[in-house]
Symmetry: C2
Subunit: 434 residues, 2 copies
Amino acid sequence: MSQSNEEKLPLSRRRFLSSGIMAAAATGLSAHGAPPIVGAANRDETVSRNAIEPFYDEHQAGILTPAQQNSYFAAFDVFAEKREDVVQMLKAWTAAAARMSRGQAVEPFENDVTVYTPDSGETLGLPPARLTITFGFGPGLFVKDGQDRYGLAARRPAALIDLPRFAGDELVEAHTGGDLSVQACADNPQVAFHAVRQLGRLAYGTAKIRWVQSGFLPNDSGKQTPRNLMGFKDGTNNPLANDPKLTNEFVWVGDEGPDWMRGGSYMVARRVRMALERWDRMTTTFQEQTVGRHKDSGAPLGKKHEFDKADYAATDDGGNPTIPENSHIRLGAAVNNEGAQILRRPYSYNEGANVAAQRWPPSRNEMEFDAGLFFVCYQRDPRTGFVKIFEQMSKSDMMHQFLTHTGSGLFACPGGVREGEFIGQRLFEKTKGV
Amino acid sequence: MSQSNEEKLPLSRRRFLSSGIMAAAATGLSAHGAPPIVGAANRDETVSRNAIEPFYDEHQAGILTPAQQNSYFAAFDVFAEKREDVVQMLKAWTAAAARMSRGQAVEPFENDVTVYTPDSGETLGLPPARLTITFGFGPGLFVKDGQDRYGLAARRPAALIDLPRFAGDELVEAHTGGDLSVQACADNPQVAFHAVRQLGRLAYGTAKIRWVQSGFLPNDSGKQTPRNLMGFKDGTNNPLANDPKLTNEFVWVGDEGPDWMRGGSYMVARRVRMALERWDRMTTTFQEQTVGRHKDSGAPLGKKHEFDKADYAATDDGGNPTIPENSHIRLGAAVNNEGAQILRRPYSYNEGANVAAQRWPPSRNEMEFDAGLFFVCYQRDPRTGFVKIFEQMSKSDMMHQFLTHTGSGLFACPGGVREGEFIGQRLFEKTKGV
């Protein structure tokens, strides 16, 4: 835990790093509190690949960070018997995350003190690619099967609820829950996976992977609103990230939370399989009515341009709403949810094809793509965020004919880590001796 | 089938295409026989994203094409009763592939003549990203369950063998075989998947997806030899692509094959799961002995630089070979296989985690990454290519302690398509009236 930002890059990585990368690193490391966030609207690819997102900061990285191109998420089951073992692992994870965020191997290759290879090595020679690693604590860390394993039960925040069952949920154990979460995001799939893989190894003997989910955005997504696999722009109306007043109101936990959660946020993750084959056999008009936007431009129905404001009062000649009552954007809009807002940070996923049964007519039972959305959102409190918004949507959203939620998780992501601390330290300190 | 290279881009895409892309398109389209292949060693990312790989050419694209960043492969089962239905689908596939390779929607959005949306739409606004679509014919197209369904049985090439069972094979039906293959590669995961998805829709009623496999390379891989998930550089010694004399000798089918296969090649695809957790618990030294190369530099053991020639005669002080007898590179080298060579075009894959049993001690039965290599290679004849090389490797390669082949396919990829033809046309013409 004595990682210093002034620490020199180890030789084995330095050999690979160009002077340009070194310069970016130096800038990143000296610019605490003013992270070199690359704007989503004008991201230069070469710059972004070489950029370092600071690990030590007021908030965890990977929440407000403009979405990187790739994501790799893992939920862990903790099986350690002693709290101290959990603490040791979190210390090791913190040190490793700080190093990897700077583009370093998880352990220097020169320090051949372990009996194992110091790092799996597949990122040797690759730039940091804006890697962020975001940690969360699931309900099972506090209480599991009725057991207060680590003396943390009394400190479980009220907001860390057990998510209710939503209409249409078809959750499978293999993609649901977890005591700890790790999401690595980077502008390189190899860098994102590498980070989780090293943390998985550091967890050996303490925790094991329960489920994982990779995700991607289209390349060039930094220059325009990315389209998800339904072919529509996804994220046009996502105003929270750039407005500190809104993020303080809707994203970051404030004084209402325990101190270890202040400046943190609650992450809801949902694995949403899309019935792509069926969606593809609908007309464009039907799809647009379902979404509430035009496919090509992304404009709200009845408008011309993507960022035009949706007019939910507008009606057509027959008196019907221009944006249908059960359309996706109407049901999700803050104005129709008593102001509720969440910070969405979704990725597409693509995991082959397998036999899937279709709940809705025409019922089918055949080989289909296992692809869709790894929906991730952050909020100050899931009860007034995702749960409030999604309860209505899960019942009424026309789009849900084409969606199946197969995985789910809720994790309390603590506030940011200061140098010398480990992730979630204040949670464990406060309960010393309990 | 009246797609013309002079055809104007449809309006709905043209709106999205920058003038830079248009210029690239114009260059690409007018440069037949001199494809704007972007060299692997100095690929500029923005240029490569905008580049168009010509679809109509002497050979199919996606074989000699410098590896794009992403791949999406699908094997189809054909269930049409009549040969003419297969021909109609191949015509539609050819037209669609030509359009998509130019960055166009599979059908123009203006031509709202279908009852379905003309294109799933997730590539609207994205550049062509060097998309290539490579088609292959599996044994089942010629004979299936003893049936000569389409009058093609007599034309099955001798080289289109049933692959033998190799030592250690643990093939599963869900990732093996297929009557037709399609591999889309592009410098954008969204563009690669989109292409296969549209072809899948065009196959409706004629063929259905049997299995799929996505793949990726690390970003920046155009600038250096990419590392696979074992952390070692993969592809250092892959000399075929840039030498026409060698490609004519080892990759392209010549006069020995039927005319529809001349200028074509045989594709072997293998889904190779890596026991990453176990590999990561080995020492770097052991890993290097297994591979036969240094992890950091990629140099052959006993050498300094990646591209130094391996010295298989060299011994250490104890008289043991510097590059071990059972190391991966020794067993795979042409010099140790009577000159046999194949063109490797592998991608990494990453498909979550699931419970896996480990065959080798220490035997385990636990959650592991389902990740590894989607090994693809091309050759003039698999009997003197992959089969010859891999029969020995599958028995002796030390690396195979960490690899499990779970999927497999062999496909005859016909010669390239000329404008006005459809893929494999000469195969079907020759058998007219049979």
